[in-house]
Protein backbone atom coordinates (compact mmCIF):
# COMPACT_ATOMS: atom_id res chain seq x y z
CA UNK A 1 0.00 0.00 0.00
CA UNK A 2 2.59 2.51 1.05
CA UNK A 3 4.72 1.23 -1.83
CA UNK A 4 1.86 1.98 -4.19
CA UNK A 5 1.50 5.46 -2.83
CA UNK A 6 5.17 5.99 -3.25
CA UNK A 7 4.94 4.81 -6.85
CA UNK A 8 2.06 7.13 -7.55
CA UNK A 9 3.87 10.04 -6.01
CA UNK A 10 6.91 9.23 -8.07
CA UNK A 11 4.83 9.04 -11.28
CA UNK A 12 3.19 12.32 -10.48
CA UNK A 13 6.54 13.85 -9.81
CA UNK A 14 7.83 12.63 -13.15
CA UNK A 15 4.75 13.96 -14.92
CA UNK A 16 5.17 17.40 -13.37
CA UNK A 17 8.83 17.30 -14.23
CA UNK A 18 8.00 16.43 -17.86
CA UNK A 19 5.50 19.27 -18.04
CA UNK A 20 8.00 21.74 -16.68
CA UNK A 21 10.26 20.79 -19.60
CA UNK A 22 8.30 22.61 -22.28
CA UNK A 23 10.82 21.64 -24.96
CA UNK A 24 14.24 20.42 -25.80
CA UNK A 25 17.01 22.98 -25.27
CA UNK A 26 18.80 24.38 -28.29
CA UNK A 27 21.22 27.15 -29.22
CA UNK A 28 21.12 29.34 -32.32
CA UNK A 29 24.11 28.60 -34.54
CA UNK A 30 23.78 31.80 -36.53
CA UNK A 31 21.73 34.90 -37.07
CA UNK A 32 18.27 33.98 -38.36
CA UNK A 33 14.73 35.26 -38.44
CA UNK A 34 11.83 33.90 -36.43
CA UNK A 35 8.66 33.52 -38.45
CA UNK A 36 4.97 33.17 -37.68
CA UNK A 37 4.70 29.94 -39.72
CA UNK A 38 7.10 27.26 -40.99
CA UNK A 39 7.58 28.85 -44.42
CA UNK A 40 10.36 30.95 -45.86
CA UNK A 41 7.90 33.68 -46.87
CA UNK A 42 5.92 33.76 -43.62
CA UNK A 43 5.77 36.95 -41.57
CA UNK A 44 8.92 37.71 -39.58
CA UNK A 45 8.12 37.99 -35.89
CA UNK A 46 11.56 38.16 -34.36
CA UNK A 47 15.24 37.44 -34.74
CA UNK A 48 17.87 35.14 -33.27
CA UNK A 49 21.54 35.84 -32.96
CA UNK A 50 24.27 33.24 -32.63
CA UNK A 51 24.37 31.78 -29.15
CA UNK A 52 20.76 32.61 -28.24
CA UNK A 53 19.18 29.89 -26.15
CA UNK A 54 15.86 28.47 -27.33
CA UNK A 55 13.38 25.81 -26.34
CA UNK A 56 12.51 23.52 -29.22
CA UNK A 57 8.79 22.77 -29.05
CA UNK A 58 8.23 20.72 -32.22
CA UNK A 59 9.47 20.04 -35.71
CA UNK A 60 7.80 20.34 -39.05
CA UNK A 61 9.76 19.61 -42.21
CA UNK A 62 12.89 21.73 -42.03
CA UNK A 63 11.53 23.97 -39.29
CA UNK A 64 11.50 24.04 -35.50
CA UNK A 65 8.90 25.85 -33.48
CA UNK A 66 10.92 27.52 -30.73
CA UNK A 67 10.27 29.50 -27.61
CA UNK A 68 12.68 32.36 -27.04
CA UNK A 69 12.33 34.49 -23.94
CA UNK A 70 8.59 35.16 -23.99
CA UNK A 71 7.85 34.77 -27.67
CA UNK A 72 7.26 31.75 -29.91
CA UNK A 73 7.85 31.22 -33.59
CA UNK A 74 9.35 29.11 -36.37
CA UNK A 75 13.00 29.04 -37.29
CA UNK A 76 14.98 26.96 -39.78
CA UNK A 77 15.94 23.69 -38.12
CA UNK A 78 19.50 23.91 -39.42
CA UNK A 79 20.07 27.24 -37.69
CA UNK A 80 19.71 25.51 -34.36
CA UNK A 81 22.05 23.20 -32.53
CA UNK A 82 20.42 20.82 -30.09
CA UNK A 83 21.61 20.79 -26.49
CA UNK A 84 22.75 23.60 -24.27
CA UNK A 85 26.06 25.43 -24.20
CA UNK A 86 27.38 23.37 -21.33
CA UNK A 87 26.86 20.16 -23.22
CA UNK A 88 28.78 21.65 -26.12
CA UNK A 89 31.79 21.99 -23.84
CA UNK A 90 31.65 18.33 -22.90
CA UNK A 91 31.48 17.32 -26.50
CA UNK A 92 34.52 19.38 -27.30
CA UNK A 93 36.41 17.48 -24.62
CA UNK A 94 35.22 14.20 -26.10
CA UNK A 95 36.46 15.23 -29.50
CA UNK A 96 39.83 16.14 -28.11
CA UNK A 97 40.29 12.72 -26.61
CA UNK A 98 39.40 11.19 -29.95
CA UNK A 99 41.91 13.42 -31.70
CA UNK A 100 44.61 12.48 -29.22
CA UNK A 101 44.38 8.92 -30.40
CA UNK A 102 42.61 7.47 -27.46
CA UNK A 103 40.00 6.11 -29.82
CA UNK A 104 42.71 4.09 -31.50
CA UNK A 105 43.49 2.05 -28.41
CA UNK A 106 40.63 -0.31 -29.06
CA UNK A 107 39.11 0.49 -25.69
CA UNK A 108 36.05 1.88 -27.32
CA UNK A 109 33.52 -0.18 -25.47
CA UNK A 110 30.18 1.37 -24.64
CA UNK A 111 29.51 1.96 -20.97
CA UNK A 112 26.83 -0.73 -20.96
CA UNK A 113 29.44 -3.42 -21.52
CA UNK A 114 27.94 -4.42 -24.84
CA UNK A 115 30.81 -4.30 -27.23
CA UNK A 116 31.28 -1.65 -29.82
CA UNK A 117 32.98 -1.97 -33.17
CA UNK A 118 36.62 -0.97 -32.87
CA UNK A 119 39.20 -0.64 -35.59
CA UNK A 120 41.00 -3.67 -34.18
CA UNK A 121 37.90 -5.80 -34.37
CA UNK A 122 37.28 -4.72 -37.93
CA UNK A 123 40.86 -5.44 -38.89
CA UNK A 124 40.78 -8.87 -37.28
CA UNK A 125 37.39 -9.79 -38.75
CA UNK A 126 37.19 -12.90 -40.85
CA UNK A 127 34.79 -13.61 -43.69
CA UNK A 128 31.42 -14.90 -42.53
CA UNK A 129 29.91 -16.61 -45.58
CA UNK A 130 26.79 -17.81 -43.82
CA UNK A 131 25.90 -14.40 -42.46
CA UNK A 132 26.53 -12.76 -45.84
CA UNK A 133 24.26 -15.30 -47.51
CA UNK A 134 21.57 -14.46 -44.97
CA UNK A 135 22.05 -10.74 -45.62
CA UNK A 136 21.73 -11.30 -49.37
CA UNK A 137 18.57 -13.34 -48.89
CA UNK A 138 16.70 -10.19 -47.84
CA UNK A 139 17.28 -8.47 -51.18
CA UNK A 140 14.30 -6.67 -52.66
CA UNK A 141 13.77 -6.20 -56.39
CA UNK A 142 12.69 -2.94 -58.01
CA UNK A 143 9.06 -3.99 -58.39
CA UNK A 144 8.88 -4.82 -54.67
CA UNK A 145 10.52 -1.51 -53.81
CA UNK A 146 7.99 0.33 -55.96
CA UNK A 147 5.11 -1.49 -54.26
CA UNK A 148 6.52 -0.58 -50.85
CA UNK A 149 6.71 3.08 -51.92
CA UNK A 150 3.14 3.02 -53.23
CA UNK A 151 1.92 1.51 -49.96
CA UNK A 152 3.48 4.43 -48.10
CA UNK A 153 2.09 6.99 -50.58
CA UNK A 154 5.62 7.89 -51.58
CA UNK A 155 5.79 9.48 -54.99
CA UNK A 156 9.10 9.79 -56.84
CA UNK A 157 9.92 13.24 -58.20
CA UNK A 158 12.83 14.70 -60.13
CA UNK A 159 15.19 16.79 -57.98
CA UNK A 160 18.67 17.83 -59.08
CA UNK A 161 21.74 17.01 -57.02
CA UNK A 162 22.97 19.89 -54.89
CA UNK A 163 26.16 21.70 -55.88
CA UNK A 164 29.12 21.58 -53.48
CA UNK A 165 29.49 24.45 -51.05
CA UNK A 166 32.90 26.05 -50.62
Amino acid sequence: MSVMKQCMAASLGMLIHAMAFAGEPGVALKVDQIRAEPFGDAKVTGALKAGDKVDILRKEGGWFEVKVAKSKGWVRMLSIRKGDAKKGGNEAAGLLSVASGRAGTGKVVASTGIRGLSEEELKAASFNAEELKLAESYAVNRAQAQQFATDGKLVARPIDYLPAVK
Binding site: F21, G23, L29, G40, L57, R58, K59, G61, G62, M77, L78, S79, I80, R81, K82, G83, K87, N90, G94, L95, V98, R102, A103, V108, A110, S111, T112, I114, R115, G116, L117, S118, L122, K123, A124, A125, F127, N128, A129, E131, L132, L134, A135, Y138, A139, V140, N141, R142, Q144, A145, F148, A149, G152, A156, R157, I159, Y161, L162, A164, V165
Partner: protein
Amino acid sequence: MNLNKRWIFTGILCAVCGTAAAFDFGALKDKVNAELPKQLPPVIPQLPQPIPQVVPPQIQQQVIQQLPVNPAIVSVVKEVAGPTQEEEIAIGHQIAGNLLGAAPLVKDAKLQQYVNRVGAWVASQSERPELPWHFGVIETNDINAFAAPGGYIFVTLGLYRQLQNEAELAGVLGHEVGHVIRQHHLKILQQSKLLEAGSKALTSQTGNNDAVQKIIGSGAEIVSRSLDKDAEFEADRIGVVLSARSGYDAYGLPGVLQQIGHSAKDEGSVALLFKTHPHPDERLDKISVAMGARFDKIKGETLAKRFYRVK
Protein backbone atom coordinates in the same frame (compact mmCIF):
# COMPACT_ATOMS: atom_id res chain seq x y z
CA MET B 1 4.15 15.76 -30.27
CA ASN B 2 6.61 13.81 -32.27
CA LEU B 3 9.42 15.87 -30.85
CA ASN B 4 8.16 15.33 -27.35
CA LYS B 5 8.14 11.59 -27.84
CA ARG B 6 11.57 11.79 -29.27
CA TRP B 7 12.81 13.80 -26.38
CA ILE B 8 11.43 11.37 -23.87
CA PHE B 9 12.74 8.42 -25.84
CA THR B 10 16.18 9.99 -26.01
CA GLY B 11 16.03 10.59 -22.31
CA ILE B 12 15.33 6.95 -21.68
CA LEU B 13 18.11 5.93 -24.01
CA CYS B 14 20.58 8.21 -22.28
CA ALA B 15 19.54 6.93 -18.91
CA VAL B 16 19.79 3.32 -19.93
CA CYS B 17 22.99 3.25 -21.87
CA GLY B 18 24.69 6.57 -21.47
CA THR B 19 24.38 6.69 -25.25
CA ALA B 20 26.08 6.87 -28.41
CA ALA B 21 27.89 7.62 -31.61
CA ALA B 22 28.75 8.08 -35.37
CA PHE B 23 28.77 7.15 -39.24
CA ASP B 24 30.78 5.08 -41.74
CA PHE B 25 34.13 4.30 -43.45
CA GLY B 26 37.51 5.63 -42.88
CA ALA B 27 41.36 6.65 -42.25
CA LEU B 28 42.59 5.25 -45.48
CA LYS B 29 44.11 8.42 -46.76
CA ASP B 30 47.03 8.47 -44.37
CA LYS B 31 47.91 4.92 -45.15
CA VAL B 32 47.65 5.54 -48.84
CA ASN B 33 49.86 8.58 -48.58
CA ALA B 34 52.38 6.57 -46.64
CA GLU B 35 52.39 3.76 -49.17
CA LEU B 36 52.31 5.68 -52.40
CA PRO B 37 55.92 6.78 -52.61
CA LYS B 38 57.11 3.22 -52.19
CA GLN B 39 54.99 1.93 -55.00
CA LEU B 40 55.04 4.60 -57.63
CA PRO B 41 57.61 6.76 -59.40
CA PRO B 42 57.34 10.37 -58.14
CA VAL B 43 55.51 11.88 -61.12
CA ILE B 44 52.81 9.28 -61.38
CA PRO B 45 50.97 9.73 -58.10
CA GLN B 46 49.25 12.75 -59.57
CA LEU B 47 47.69 10.86 -62.42
CA PRO B 48 44.92 8.79 -60.85
CA GLN B 49 43.44 11.88 -59.24
CA PRO B 50 42.03 14.71 -61.29
CA ILE B 51 44.60 17.46 -61.50
CA PRO B 52 43.36 20.44 -59.42
CA GLN B 53 41.48 23.01 -61.42
CA VAL B 54 43.81 25.79 -60.37
CA VAL B 55 46.40 24.36 -62.72
CA PRO B 56 45.88 25.90 -66.18
CA PRO B 57 45.01 23.38 -68.93
CA GLN B 58 48.28 24.00 -70.82
CA ILE B 59 50.28 22.99 -67.75
CA GLN B 60 48.13 19.91 -67.24
CA GLN B 61 48.95 18.97 -70.80
CA GLN B 62 52.66 19.44 -70.12
CA VAL B 63 52.50 17.29 -67.03
CA ILE B 64 50.94 14.50 -69.02
CA GLN B 65 53.47 14.88 -71.85
CA GLN B 66 56.36 14.79 -69.43
CA LEU B 67 55.45 11.38 -68.11
CA PRO B 68 57.99 8.81 -69.14
CA VAL B 69 56.61 6.20 -71.46
CA ASN B 70 56.98 2.96 -69.60
CA PRO B 71 54.83 -0.07 -68.76
CA ALA B 72 53.72 1.51 -65.49
CA ILE B 73 51.63 3.95 -67.46
CA VAL B 74 49.61 1.16 -68.98
CA SER B 75 48.53 0.00 -65.56
CA VAL B 76 47.84 3.55 -64.44
CA VAL B 77 45.55 4.03 -67.42
CA LYS B 78 43.72 0.86 -66.48
CA GLU B 79 43.25 2.25 -63.01
CA VAL B 80 41.77 5.45 -64.32
CA ALA B 81 39.29 3.41 -66.35
CA GLY B 82 38.40 1.66 -63.11
CA PRO B 83 37.22 -1.84 -62.37
CA THR B 84 34.23 -3.37 -64.06
CA GLN B 85 30.94 -3.58 -62.24
CA GLU B 86 31.58 -7.27 -61.66
CA GLU B 87 34.90 -6.48 -59.99
CA GLU B 88 33.31 -3.74 -57.96
CA ILE B 89 30.69 -6.15 -56.63
CA ALA B 90 33.35 -8.79 -55.87
CA ILE B 91 35.24 -6.27 -53.73
CA GLY B 92 32.08 -5.21 -51.91
CA HIS B 93 31.09 -8.84 -51.37
CA GLN B 94 34.38 -9.56 -49.63
CA ILE B 95 34.21 -6.43 -47.46
CA ALA B 96 30.59 -7.16 -46.50
CA GLY B 97 31.44 -10.74 -45.51
CA ASN B 98 34.29 -9.50 -43.32
CA LEU B 99 32.20 -6.78 -41.72
CA LEU B 100 29.57 -9.38 -40.84
CA GLY B 101 32.39 -11.42 -39.35
CA ALA B 102 32.99 -8.54 -36.92
CA ALA B 103 29.31 -7.82 -36.24
CA PRO B 104 26.55 -10.19 -37.39
CA LEU B 105 23.08 -9.20 -38.53
CA VAL B 106 20.50 -8.38 -35.90
CA LYS B 107 18.37 -11.53 -35.81
CA ASP B 108 15.10 -9.85 -36.70
CA ALA B 109 13.93 -10.79 -40.19
CA LYS B 110 11.22 -8.12 -40.25
CA LEU B 111 13.77 -5.43 -39.46
CA GLN B 112 16.10 -6.65 -42.22
CA GLN B 113 13.27 -6.85 -44.76
CA TYR B 114 12.08 -3.39 -43.83
CA VAL B 115 15.53 -1.84 -44.21
CA ASN B 116 15.96 -3.54 -47.58
CA ARG B 117 12.66 -2.13 -48.83
CA VAL B 118 13.47 1.42 -47.78
CA GLY B 119 17.02 1.09 -49.11
CA ALA B 120 16.02 -0.43 -52.44
CA TRP B 121 13.48 2.33 -53.00
CA VAL B 122 15.99 5.09 -52.21
CA ALA B 123 18.70 3.45 -54.34
CA SER B 124 16.24 3.12 -57.24
CA GLN B 125 16.22 6.93 -57.38
CA SER B 126 19.98 7.02 -57.99
CA GLU B 127 21.75 6.70 -61.33
CA ARG B 128 22.75 3.11 -60.50
CA PRO B 129 19.43 1.37 -59.84
CA GLU B 130 20.69 -1.81 -61.51
CA LEU B 131 23.29 -2.63 -58.85
CA PRO B 132 22.39 -5.60 -56.62
CA TRP B 133 21.65 -3.45 -53.56
CA HIS B 134 21.82 -5.07 -50.13
CA PHE B 135 21.03 -3.45 -46.79
CA GLY B 136 21.29 -4.71 -43.25
CA VAL B 137 21.33 -3.78 -39.58
CA ILE B 138 24.28 -5.17 -37.64
CA GLU B 139 24.52 -6.11 -33.99
CA THR B 140 26.60 -3.43 -32.28
CA ASN B 141 25.88 -0.47 -30.02
CA ASP B 142 28.29 1.69 -31.96
CA ILE B 143 26.60 4.46 -33.89
CA ASN B 144 27.74 4.14 -37.45
CA ALA B 145 26.86 3.08 -40.98
CA PHE B 146 29.01 1.45 -43.63
CA ALA B 147 29.01 1.21 -47.39
CA ALA B 148 31.03 -1.20 -49.50
CA PRO B 149 31.46 -1.06 -53.29
CA GLY B 150 28.83 -2.67 -55.45
CA GLY B 151 25.89 -1.82 -53.19
CA TYR B 152 26.41 -3.38 -49.74
CA ILE B 153 25.19 -1.08 -46.98
CA PHE B 154 24.99 -1.69 -43.24
CA VAL B 155 23.62 0.42 -40.41
CA THR B 156 24.52 -0.38 -36.81
CA LEU B 157 21.78 -1.15 -34.30
CA GLY B 158 23.11 1.76 -32.21
CA LEU B 159 22.40 4.18 -35.05
CA TYR B 160 19.10 2.53 -35.97
CA ARG B 161 17.88 3.05 -32.41
CA GLN B 162 18.50 6.79 -32.77
CA LEU B 163 16.17 7.04 -35.74
CA GLN B 164 12.65 8.35 -35.30
CA ASN B 165 11.01 7.81 -38.66
CA GLU B 166 11.40 6.32 -42.12
CA ALA B 167 12.58 9.59 -43.65
CA GLU B 168 15.58 9.58 -41.28
CA LEU B 169 16.41 6.00 -42.24
CA ALA B 170 16.08 6.96 -45.91
CA GLY B 171 18.49 9.85 -45.35
CA VAL B 172 21.10 7.64 -43.67
CA LEU B 173 20.82 4.95 -46.36
CA GLY B 174 20.90 7.68 -49.03
CA HIS B 175 24.23 8.94 -47.63
CA GLU B 176 25.69 5.44 -47.98
CA VAL B 177 24.18 4.98 -51.44
CA GLY B 178 26.02 8.21 -52.29
CA HIS B 179 29.38 6.64 -51.36
CA VAL B 180 28.60 3.62 -53.53
CA ILE B 181 27.42 5.46 -56.65
CA ARG B 182 30.34 7.91 -56.53
CA GLN B 183 32.71 4.99 -55.85
CA HIS B 184 34.43 6.80 -53.01
CA HIS B 185 36.04 3.71 -51.54
CA LEU B 186 36.99 2.22 -54.89
CA LYS B 187 38.82 5.45 -55.69
CA ILE B 188 40.90 5.06 -52.56
CA LEU B 189 41.82 1.52 -53.53
CA GLN B 190 42.74 2.74 -56.99
CA GLN B 191 44.92 5.49 -55.58
CA SER B 192 46.73 3.05 -53.36
CA LYS B 193 47.45 0.85 -56.39
CA LEU B 194 46.24 -2.10 -54.37
CA LEU B 195 43.45 -2.62 -56.83
CA GLU B 196 45.80 -3.00 -59.76
CA ALA B 197 47.88 -5.61 -57.97
CA GLY B 198 45.11 -8.14 -57.79
CA SER B 199 42.65 -7.12 -60.44
CA LYS B 200 43.32 -10.17 -62.60
CA ALA B 201 41.86 -12.38 -59.93
CA LEU B 202 38.73 -10.36 -59.41
CA THR B 203 35.59 -12.32 -59.99
CA SER B 204 32.27 -12.25 -58.25
CA GLN B 205 32.60 -15.83 -57.07
CA THR B 206 30.71 -16.50 -53.89
CA GLY B 207 32.48 -17.25 -50.66
CA ASN B 208 35.83 -16.07 -49.41
CA ASN B 209 38.16 -14.77 -52.11
CA ASP B 210 41.85 -14.51 -51.20
CA ALA B 211 42.75 -12.38 -54.21
CA VAL B 212 40.11 -9.81 -53.36
CA GLN B 213 41.16 -9.91 -49.72
CA LYS B 214 44.69 -8.86 -50.72
CA ILE B 215 43.23 -5.77 -52.34
CA ILE B 216 41.21 -4.64 -49.36
CA GLY B 217 43.81 -5.22 -46.64
CA SER B 218 43.09 -6.96 -43.33
CA GLY B 219 39.56 -8.08 -42.56
CA ALA B 220 37.11 -5.22 -42.82
CA GLU B 221 39.64 -2.55 -41.82
CA ILE B 222 38.77 -0.61 -44.94
CA VAL B 223 35.49 0.39 -43.34
CA SER B 224 37.38 2.07 -40.50
CA ARG B 225 39.35 4.30 -42.84
CA SER B 226 38.55 7.95 -43.43
CA LEU B 227 37.36 9.24 -46.73
CA ASP B 228 38.16 12.75 -47.82
CA LYS B 229 35.96 15.29 -45.98
CA ASP B 230 34.55 16.44 -49.29
CA ALA B 231 33.42 12.88 -50.05
CA GLU B 232 31.43 12.91 -46.81
CA PHE B 233 29.86 16.28 -47.58
CA GLU B 234 29.03 15.02 -51.07
CA ALA B 235 27.40 11.88 -49.64
CA ASP B 236 25.34 14.08 -47.30
CA ARG B 237 24.06 16.12 -50.24
CA ILE B 238 23.26 12.96 -52.17
CA GLY B 239 21.48 11.47 -49.14
CA VAL B 240 19.25 14.51 -48.85
CA VAL B 241 18.44 14.58 -52.57
CA LEU B 242 17.81 10.83 -52.93
CA SER B 243 15.42 10.79 -49.99
CA ALA B 244 13.59 13.84 -51.34
CA ARG B 245 13.41 12.22 -54.80
CA SER B 246 11.94 9.15 -53.11
CA GLY B 247 9.09 11.24 -51.70
CA TYR B 248 10.45 11.63 -48.18
CA ASP B 249 10.94 14.74 -46.07
CA ALA B 250 14.35 16.05 -47.14
CA TYR B 251 15.32 16.86 -43.56
CA GLY B 252 15.67 13.26 -42.39
CA LEU B 253 19.46 13.08 -42.63
CA PRO B 254 20.03 16.58 -41.16
CA GLY B 255 17.76 15.54 -38.28
CA VAL B 256 19.92 12.49 -37.60
CA LEU B 257 23.11 14.56 -37.70
CA GLN B 258 21.55 17.01 -35.29
CA GLN B 259 20.58 14.19 -32.95
CA ILE B 260 24.00 12.58 -33.06
CA GLY B 261 25.84 15.85 -32.55
CA HIS B 262 23.62 16.50 -29.57
CA SER B 263 23.61 13.14 -27.87
CA ALA B 264 27.21 12.16 -28.47
CA LYS B 265 28.46 12.39 -24.93
CA ASP B 266 29.69 8.87 -24.54
CA GLU B 267 32.80 8.86 -26.67
CA GLY B 268 32.86 5.07 -27.01
CA SER B 269 29.93 4.60 -29.31
CA VAL B 270 30.77 7.59 -31.50
CA ALA B 271 34.55 7.27 -31.40
CA LEU B 272 34.96 5.59 -34.78
CA LEU B 273 32.32 7.73 -36.47
CA PHE B 274 33.87 10.94 -35.19
CA LYS B 275 37.33 9.77 -36.10
CA THR B 276 36.39 8.99 -39.68
CA HIS B 277 33.93 11.79 -40.38
CA PRO B 278 33.80 15.54 -39.98
CA HIS B 279 31.94 16.48 -36.78
CA PRO B 280 28.12 16.43 -37.22
CA ASP B 281 28.01 20.18 -36.55
CA GLU B 282 30.34 20.82 -39.47
CA ARG B 283 28.30 18.50 -41.68
CA LEU B 284 25.08 20.27 -40.63
CA ASP B 285 26.62 23.62 -41.41
CA LYS B 286 27.61 22.46 -44.92
CA ILE B 287 24.30 20.77 -45.72
CA SER B 288 22.41 23.78 -44.40
CA VAL B 289 24.14 26.09 -46.86
CA ALA B 290 23.77 23.59 -49.72
CA MET B 291 20.04 23.13 -49.06
CA GLY B 292 19.28 26.80 -48.43
CA ALA B 293 15.62 27.43 -49.20
CA ARG B 294 15.49 24.89 -52.06
CA PHE B 295 13.36 22.44 -50.13
CA ASP B 296 10.91 24.98 -48.69
CA LYS B 297 8.22 24.07 -51.21
CA ILE B 298 9.08 20.38 -51.46
CA LYS B 299 7.05 18.63 -48.83
CA GLY B 300 7.66 14.98 -48.09
CA GLU B 301 6.58 12.10 -45.92
CA THR B 302 8.27 11.16 -42.66
CA LEU B 303 6.25 7.94 -42.21
CA ALA B 304 6.84 7.82 -38.47
CA LYS B 305 3.95 5.39 -38.11
CA ARG B 306 5.35 2.86 -40.57
CA PHE B 307 8.86 3.08 -39.13
CA TYR B 308 9.88 -0.33 -37.80
CA ARG B 309 10.90 -0.05 -34.16
CA VAL B 310 13.27 -2.62 -32.74
CA LYS B 311 12.41 -4.24 -29.46
